[in-house]
Each structure stands twice: as structure tokens, then as C-alpha cells.
């Protein structure tokens, strides 16, 4: 068994998939008894988990999962019914596995005795849908009642030795075989029965061989049921020899060469299959002009696979892609000269990598070493977040130094000064030319060092960016359980829906965001959602719907928590705010309904007369607003009295390293997210003309609205040089295009966007800041805000700026 760290990580990752799948079904089962298909999926999830526990030698988990699987098998067969208590026990088991996987203790985790007892109690409980007789009988692995199995084993133990003697001596065997055949058939052991039929009809010379097959069936029966079958006694008699395994293929020079090649390329030979039967492998061993490429394609259908195999030289393949295994990883043999891009394009590969022995293949890797289970955990180092924070702080400083170096390299006047000095010295002072040439060499060396530093920064970026980000799914994974528990405590029925894509966010941001989401969800359940009786009276479904949806919009994260409850009672909020002297009557009279609704964010505010265990103490919603504001975000409330409420948390994805195009407005350096930059160009000033009062850039015979970046951002305007060339950045966002006029286009740079203070993000068009060196602030644009400003700034002559921008986009 492979027990290396990598294998355990893979097992833990697979287990996590099955836990998630099982948990979703069990939580949904709170509202409705699971359908047969869901029970099947649940059974498979637990069955797979049991297999993984066995693979990881996690004996305690394997035992618990076996009990759970047995109970689920009864549920599948209709002998039991799903109930909340069983669901709770199964969920606790999944929790335990999830925690063990997360902490890397899957193999060694101890099973709590209480949970073991609960699962045993589930199994011991009488079956609800079975008759009294069958309910008292256990079923073995062959689906036969244990007592019946034992009786059949006794029959085998009695008859097989006699049958062996009869086969050996050539006497009549008809009666013995007929008895066994009848019993096997009655038990549904049709394979066993068919072997007996063949024995009964066999000529005397063939009997020994056929009897051996019968003995093997008896051995299998004993192996599966644990019963003694008399097979050993029968086998000791002459005429019955055990089956011989086939001869293994001999090692040849070619297979030795292939093994050496696979080891060199870090390919796990076990993923390739039998080397002797793989003609291509031998071709590979013989031809040095061939290379191995690893490619991953979406799982083809059978016809596509036939085409793929007929057009490519496939060495090996395996299903990959998590629990769904919806991709096929392939090892392909290709001529060394073949372009990887062409190959990837031809087969539609998501991933394509030529194996060179440096980087191991992703899906066919050879374990580097075999380490015992206990030591496997040493390969994983758990690092406190504070340590990562310090590391990121220093990496950020290093980025700043690198960026300053870049500015020195590209923006300093040293190159021009040296050129002029050189021109002067050639004619006027040739005696100092050696010194000037030395300066030029130093300058070239400096530029080379700067380029190398830039390359290293990119590498550090790649290897550290993933350290602090975690999947948003992990952040919100706790909510289905929390909602379920709360709903139960409150006597409410809630269907909770979680919708989040593959979003990754900074760990610090995740920690800050947990409280706001928790408070808003709690409030929705406690205050918003009605009891089933109240909902029934209002004509609503008894089960309320609460949705938590997360979306990444550009460099912003938008989390929406929506319910279909009663909404925020504006009158009640206003009355409470007056009672608590948070506002005056005059204030209330002036305020809109939306403003009154936002009073719930006031510290100490609560509409509850008495605090419940869950909410109503007047703390929470203020914390929610505080934390989201601290992240540079906003909370928008969409209140629909009687129909529900939606809270939209909109915040920048902060503390990330992003590629920016730096431009200068003449007074301020601005960073444009590379994602919105379509092109940067210098055009004649005469290219800008007025179209319906809107300055527009004539670009490739089309007009594009153009805006001065200083005007949009309300920055001091640089001196205009009308008639001369102008620097323009064409931006594209959400199907809109616009040109921005800037003073100078500087360079592309990867920069660390700092966690942003609310005052910075409240500046028009700005989403974050970064620094170039110690004294130069870079304001980073927010695409949504930028295009919003462009819309507002567009001239009145246009019917709608949005239309104009889109029209311009369409024209491009």
C-alpha cells in the first residue's frame, strides 16, 4: 500500500469530495425524504469513503463507515426508513472525516466511542419495513441470511469430502451433485450451480478439473461468509489440485530500458500498465527522436476516443478530475519536433506538458520516496497565518523595491545623458571615451540585473500567490449546517441554497468576512423567516428559502444573502430607533425607507424586546457593516416588505498581486488593471474629434468615446499640448469600450494591491493603492467605477452613454 505523503493528500482530497457530496444529501434530507437516486448517491459516497479509509489504513474510520454503509444498504433495500436521528449520526461521521482530512490525521484519527455506539444502535434498531422474521436475520456479503449461509456451509462440509472421494474413485456422483446444485440455486448462487451442472454432465476424465472449479467456488463461499465448507478436507484428496497462477512475464532488455526511461521522467510505471503488451512503449525505448507528452482532455465519448487513439500515439491514460473524473489524462508519444501548442489544439487539451525529467507529470507521477505513515505528516508544514502575513509584508516590500528599480531603469534620464555625453566626447573629448564606455557598460549591466530581478519577482509571485488564498467554498461550507441547526432551534423550516463559483480569496479577508455573513444569515433566519404556520397563513410555502450567493465581478467579490421571509419592517425599525433615541422624529420624517432600513446597522439597535440565543442583542449587524467597510466594501439592502430582503455585500478582492499598466497623468501615477486594457497607443491629437458634443477618437475608421483620465478622477489636469501626439489607453469592460487620454504611458508591472482604507476606495474611480518605492503612490482603478464615471461624464448630446459606449464597442 502506498503510504507516502502525496498519496495521503490525494486520499484526503478525494475523501473531502465524497464528504461534501454526502453532506449535501443529508442536509437536504431534513426537508424531504431522500429519493432513491439520492440514497444511491449517499450509499456510494459512504462506500467510497470506506474504500479510501481502507487504502489509508484508517481502521477506525473503516469500521465506522462499514456500519454506516450497512445501515444505508438497509435503507436502499427499503428495510429501513430515513429519520433525522440517523441523518444526524451520519453527518457527525462526515464531520469527523472532514476534520481529520483537514488536519492531516485521517489515518490516525480515533473514533469517538459515543458515535460508534450511535451507529451500532442504528444497526441494532428493528427494521421498520421488514416482517418480524426477516428483521431478526442478518444478511451476509452475498445477500444471504446468515443462518441460511451457515446451513449451506454445513452441507458443503458434509458433501464435498464424499464428492472428492467419488471423483477420485470414479464412482457415481449424481446424487451428491444434485443436492448441492439444488441448494446453490435456491440461494441464488447461479455461478456455483453452473459449475455443479458441468461436473454432473462431465465425462470421467474431465471430472477432476471440473471438481477443482467447484472446490474453488466453495473456497470463495467460505472466504466471503467466514464459514467452514469442507473444501480443505476435500482438497487433500487425490485428484484435486489448487489452481496455479500464470507465469509472470520475464524481464527483457527492452522492459529494463523502459523502466529506466520512466524513472528518469518521474513516471509511475504502474500507471502505464503491462510493458510487455504495450508496443508503443517498445517503440519509444528504441527511438530517441520521440518524447512523452502529458495531456489532459475533457473525457471524450467513445467515438471521439476511437478517433483520438487512431490519430495520436497513446501510451497510457487514466480518468482524472476529482470525484467526477470527467477528464482523461494521457501520456502521448510525439516526435520531439512537434509543437506542443499544435498538439494541444488538435486534441483539445486543457493541459499539455512535455516530460523532460525536471517537472514530474501531474497525473502519472512516480512517488519520490516511500515514507511510513507516521512520518508522512512531516512533509506537510502548518504555518500560522501571522507568519504568512509577515512574509507577505516583506514580499510586498520587495515588490516595491523591484518596481522602483524598474522605474529607474526605464524612466531615468541616464540613458539619454550617457548618449549625449558619448556623442560629445567622440568629437570634443576623445580622451574621456574609455570612462564613458565604462559607464555605458555599467548601465547595461544594471539593466540586465533589473531584468533578472523582474524575472525573479515574477517567479516569487507565482509561488507565493497561492499561499494565502483559500477557496471561498471553504469559507461558506459551514453555513448549511449552521442554518439547519438554527432552523431547528427556531422551529422554522428553511431550504438553504449555496451558490458560489471557483472563487479564491485572501485568508485575512475570509476571516473578516465570516462575521458579517454569519450575522446577516442569523438575522434572516431569526427576524426575516416566518414560522411554517405564519407562512401557511400568508399563502407562502411552509419551507422558507434562504440563498447565499457569491460572485466575482472583475476584482470585486459580491456576496448576496437573500430570503423570502417578511422583509424588514420599516415602521418597526423606525419606532425602535425612536425609542432607543438613535434618531429624532424629524430625522425619521426626512429619511427614505432605504435609509430607515439601514438603521439596523446602528450599534446597539435591535427590534427584539428580548434577546434570543441567536440574535437580538443589538450587536452583530453593526459588526457586519464595520467589517465589510474595513474591507473597502459596501452593504446594499434590497427590502421587499412581505416578500423578503436581500443584503448585497460588495467589496474589492484586496491584498492581491495583479498585473497593471502604469500611466502618468502628469500629477499622479495610475494603475490600470491589465484585464481591462485593450490596447495602448500614441495617436495624433487631430484624431480626437467631437461627435454630438462627445470627444471621440477616430481609430481605425471608427469613433470611440475618449475621456481625459484627470477629468474622470477629478485630478489636477496636466498641460495640454493641442495638436501634438497624445497617449491613449483603450479600455474594455463588460462589453463596453472607451479610450482614456493620459499624459504618458509608463510600463506594465505586477504590483501588490494593498488592503485599502475606505477613504481611498471612496475616491472616484479608485479601487486600491500600491506603491512604487517609498514615496510614490499608485492609485489602482476599479473597472466598474471607471466606466461608471465615463457614463456620467459623457456629453448630453448622446441619448445614453451606455448605448454610445456599446455602440462604439459594436463598431469595433
Amino acid at each position: 500500500m502506498t503510504t507516502d505523503a502525496e498519496a495521503l493528500r490525494v486520499i484526503a482530497a478525494e475523501a473531502a469530495d465524497h464528504v461534501t457530496a454526502g453532506e449535501a444529501i443529508l442536509i437536504a434530507a431534513v426537508h424531504a425524504t431522500p429519493e432513491r437516486a439520492e440514497v444511491d448517491r449517499l450509499f456510494r459516497a459512504f462506500h467510497s469513503l470506506k474504500g479510501l479509509a481502507r487504502a489509508a489504513a484508517a481502521e477506525q474510520f473503516e469500521a465506522l463507515l462499514h456500519d454506516a454503509e450497512t445501515w444505508l444498504a438497509d435503507l436502499r433495500s427499503g428495510r429501513r426508513e430515513f429519520d433525522a436521528q440517523a441523518g444526524e449520526s451520519l453527518l457527525q461521521l462526515l464531520d469527523l472525516i472532514r476534520d481529520a482530512c483537514a488536519s492531516g490525521a485521517f489515518t490516525d484519527a480515533a473514533a469517538p466511542p459515543a458515535l460508534s455506539a450511535r451507529l451500532r444502535a442504528l444497526l441494532d434498531a428493528p427494521m421498520t419495513n421488514a416482517d418480524t422474521h426477516s428483521a431478526s436475520l442478518a444478511i451476509d456479503v452475498l445477500g444471504i441470511e446468515v443462518e441460511t449461509s451457515a446451513a449451506f456451509a454445513e452441507l458443503l462440509a458434509e458433501i464435498l469430502p464424499e464428492l472428492a472421494a467419488a471423483v477420485a474413485s470414479g464412482v457415481e456422483i449424481e446424487d451428491d451433485v444434485a443436492v448441492l446444485h439444488h441448494a446453490a440455486k435456491r440461494l441464488g448462487l447461479l455461478g456455483f450451480a453452473s459449475r455443479l451442472v458441468r461436473l454432473r454432465g462431465a465425462a470421467e476424465g474431465e471430472r477432476a478439473g471440473l471438481f477443482e472449479a467447484v472446490l474453488r467456488s466453495a473456497a470463495s463461499f467460505g472466504f466471503l461468509t467466514g464459514a467452514t465448507t469442507g473444501r480443505l478436507e476435500a482438497q487433500r484428496r487425490p485428484g484435486s489440485e489448487p489452481a496455479q497462477p500464470p507465469q509472470l512475464p520475464q524481464e527483457t532488455p527492452e522492459t529494463r530500458e523502459l523502466r529506466s526511461l520512466f524513472a528518469q521522467l518521474k513516471i509511475n510505471e504502474m500507471f502505464v500498465g503491462e510493458l510487455g503488451g504495450n508496443a508503443l512503449a517498445f517503440e519509444l525505448a528504441a527511438d530517441n527522436g520521440l518524447v512523452i507528452v502529458e495531456a489532459v482532455v475533457p473525457l471524450p465519448d467513445p467515438d471521439e476516443l476511437v478517433r483520438l487513439v487512431s490519430t495520436q500515439r497513446v501510451l497510457a491514460g487514466r480518468g482524472v478530475g476529482g470525484a467526477r473524473r470527467d477528464h482523461l489524462a494521457l501520456l502521448l508519444v510525439a516526435p520531439a519536433k512537434r509543437l506542443l501548442e499544435d498538439l494541444a489544439s488538435e486534441i483539445g487539451a486543457d493541459h499539455c506538458q512535455k516530460l523532460d525529467g525536471q517537472t514530474p507529470p501531474r497525473h502519472f507521477a512516480k512517488p519520490t520516496e516511500h515514507v511510513p505513515t507516521g512520518a508522512a505528516q512531516d512533509a506537510l508544514v502548518r504555518v500560522p497565518v501571522e507568519v504568512l502575513d509577515r512574509l507577505f509584508g516583506r514580499i510586498g516590500s520587495f515588490f516595491s523595491v523591484g518596481a522602483r528599480l524598474g522605474v529607474l531603469a526605464t524612466e531615468s534620464g541616464a540613458n539619454e545623458a550617457l548618449r549625449r555625453l558619448s556623442d560629445f566626447a567622440v568629437t570634443r573629448a576623445p580622451e574621456i571615451m574609455p570612462e564613458i564606455e565604462a559607464l555605458l557598460r555599467d548601465r547595461r549591466d544594471f539593466l540586465n540585473v533589473e531584468a533578472e530581478v523582474g524575472r525573479l519577482i515574477s517567479l516569487i509571485h507565482e509561488s507565493t500567490l497561492g499561499l494565502r488564498v483559500i477557496p471561498f467554498d471553504n469559507v461558506v461550507a459551514r453555513f448549511p449546517r449552521m442554518v439547519r441547526e438554527m432552523a431547528r432551534q427556531l422551529g422554522k423550516s428553511v431550504h438553504f441554497e449555496l451558490v458560489s463559483g471557483p472563487i479564491k480569496i485572501d485568508k485575512g479577508m475570509a476571516d473578516t468576512l465570516i462575521d458579517p455573513i454569519t450575522h446577516i444569515v442569523r438575522n434572516a433566519l431569526d427576524h426575516g423567516v416566518e414560522t411554517p404556520a405564519e407562512r401557511g397563513a400568508l399563502g407562502k410555502p411552509a419551507s422558507a428559502r434562504v440563498t447565499l450567493r457569491a460572485e466575482q465581478l472583475g476584482n470585486r467579490l459580491v456576496v448576496t444573502i437573500e430570503d423570502d421571509g417578511r422583509g424588514i419592517a420599516i415602521d418597526k425599525v423606525a419606532a425602535k430607533a425612536l425609542t432607543q433615541r438613535l434618531v429624532s422624529e424629524a430625522d425619521i420624517a426626512r429619511m427614505t425607507q432605504a435609509q430607515i432600513a439601514r438603521l439596523i446597522f446602528t450599534p446597539g439597535f435591535s427590534t427584539r424586546d428580548q434577546a434570543s440565543e441567536l440574535s437580538g442583542r443589538g450587536v452583530g449587524m453593526d459588526v457586519a457593516l464595520f467589517n465589510v467597510t474595513r474591507l473597502g466594501g459596501t452593504i446594499h439592502i434590497d427590502n421587499r416588505p412581505g416578500l423578503g430582503a436581500a443584503f448585497r455585500l460588495d467589496m474589492p478582492l484586496s491584498a492581491a498581486i495583479r498585473p497593471l499598466l502604469l500611466v502618468d497623468t502628469g500629477t499622479q501615477t495610475i494603475g490600470l488593471p491589465e484585464a481591462i486594457v485593450a490596447e495602448a497607443l500614441i495617436v495624433p491629437g487631430s484624431s480626437v474629434q467631437s461627435v454630438n458634443g462627445q470627444p471621440s477618437l477616430l481609430l481605425r475608421e471608427r469613433y470611440l468615446p475618449i475621456f481625459d483620465l484627470c477629468d474622470l478622477l477629478a485630478l489636477p489636469r496636466h498641460k495640454l499640448d493641442n495638436g501634438e501626439d497624445i497617449s491613449v489607453v483603450v479600455c474594455r469592460w463588460n462589453g463596453q469600450r472607451a479610450a482614456l487620454r493620459v499624459h504618458r504611458i509608463l510600463r506594465r508591472l505586477e504590483m501588490l494591491i494593498r488592503e485599502t482604507h475606505p477613504r481611498i476606495t471612496s475616491l472616484p474611480g479608485i479601487g486600491g493603492v500600491s506603491t512604487l518605492g517609498a514615496d510614490r503612490i499608485v492609485l489602482v482603478l476599479d473597472p466598474d467605477k471607471l466606466f461608471g464615471l465615463a457614463s456620467q461624464s459623457a456629453s448630453r448630446g448622446l441619448r445614453s452613454v451606455g448605448h454610445a459606449l456599446k455602440a462604439a464597442d459594436g463598431a469595433q
Binding site: S220, A279, R325
Partner: protein
């Protein structure tokens, strides 16, 4: 050697059913692709290993093909299949042919044949020459009487 029963004009030929025990989508596609190239050989039925017991008891099949790389415990799967199914049980896997103990255990518990996969756990080359060879062996197991050399 040509197999008489593979002749398309032979009206006496009827298709057999091959039941694949594997929940690996890659292997299922590979076997389906293999049968696409040999349309008169087998109809395909796929079972997940965890459903094997109940489904195999009820399955009317001519051959059980167990994917050793997808089975939680391949020996148990073989033993169950061989006891409840009269059809031949064939095991395929990447470790077979090189793991003597596993080969022997499968044969002892009723496997008719153990065969190595030559192109990895997903066996994509079953859609090509590897599949042609496997089909020949499987059809000989199912219909030896029809496999008459011409």
C-alpha cells in the same frame, strides 16, 4: 485466423452482453469505444462496484468484466461475481500480470482469466489495437463453439 462468428452475413450470430464492473468513466468510455469498433460482439452494461452484488444477481449477462483498478476489493468482487453469475468472469487491471499474488487470488476465487491493461487504468488503447486483442479473447470465452478457424 478469422473467426466465423464475426462474419456479418452469418445470420445465426446474436449479440452477447458484456457487463463491466467499473465506476471509472474513463474505463467505461474505453470499453464502449472498443465495442464501437466491434459492433457485432457485445452489448455493454455498466455497473458500479458497490452495486455489484444486487445487480449481478439479477443481470442476464454473457460475460462479467471486472476493472481491478476501480474495485475497492477486487478479490471480493471476483468471488461474489463468480458465485452469483454463471457467466465467465474476467479481470483486467494495470497490476495484473505483474502481481503474482493478486493474479492467483483472482483465479482461485473464480476468475476465468486475468488480463493486464497495457495502457494504464483508463485503458484508452482499448479503442484501438489493445481492444481488438481483448475482444478476441473475450469472444473465445463466451462463444468458443462459434470461434471456428476458417
Amino acid at each position: 485466423m478469422r473467426l466465423k462468428w464475426l462474419e456479418p452475413e452469418d445470420s445465426t450470430v446474436h449479440k452477447s452482453t458484456l457487463t463491466l464492473l467499473s465506476d471509472d468513466p474513463a474505463m467505461q468510455v474505453a470499453v464502449a469505444a472498443m465495442l464501437r469498433r466491434h459492433p457485432q460482439s457485445f452489448d455493454l452494461s455498466c455497473l458500479a462496484p458497490c452495486d455489484a452484488l444486487s445487480a449481478l444477481r439479477d443481470a442476464a449477462t454473457d460475460l462479467v468484466l471486472i476493472d481491478a483498478d476501480a474495485a475497492v476489493d477486487v478479490v471480493v468482487s471476483v468471488a461474489v461475481a463468480a458465485l452469483v453469475q454463471p457467466a465467465p468472469v474476467v479481470v483486467v487491471g494495470v497490476a495484473l500480470g505483474r502481481d503474482e499474488a493478486l493474479d492467483a487470488a483472482c483465479l482461485v476465487h473464480g476468475a476465468t482469466a486475468v488480463l493486464a491493461k497495457a495502457s494504464g487504468p483508463g485503458a484508452p488503447n482499448l479503442a484501438g489495437a489493445e481492444g481488438d486483442a481483448l475482444i478476441s479473447r473475450l469472444t473465445l470465452l463466451v462463444r468458443p463453439a462459434n470461434a471456428v478457424a476458417s
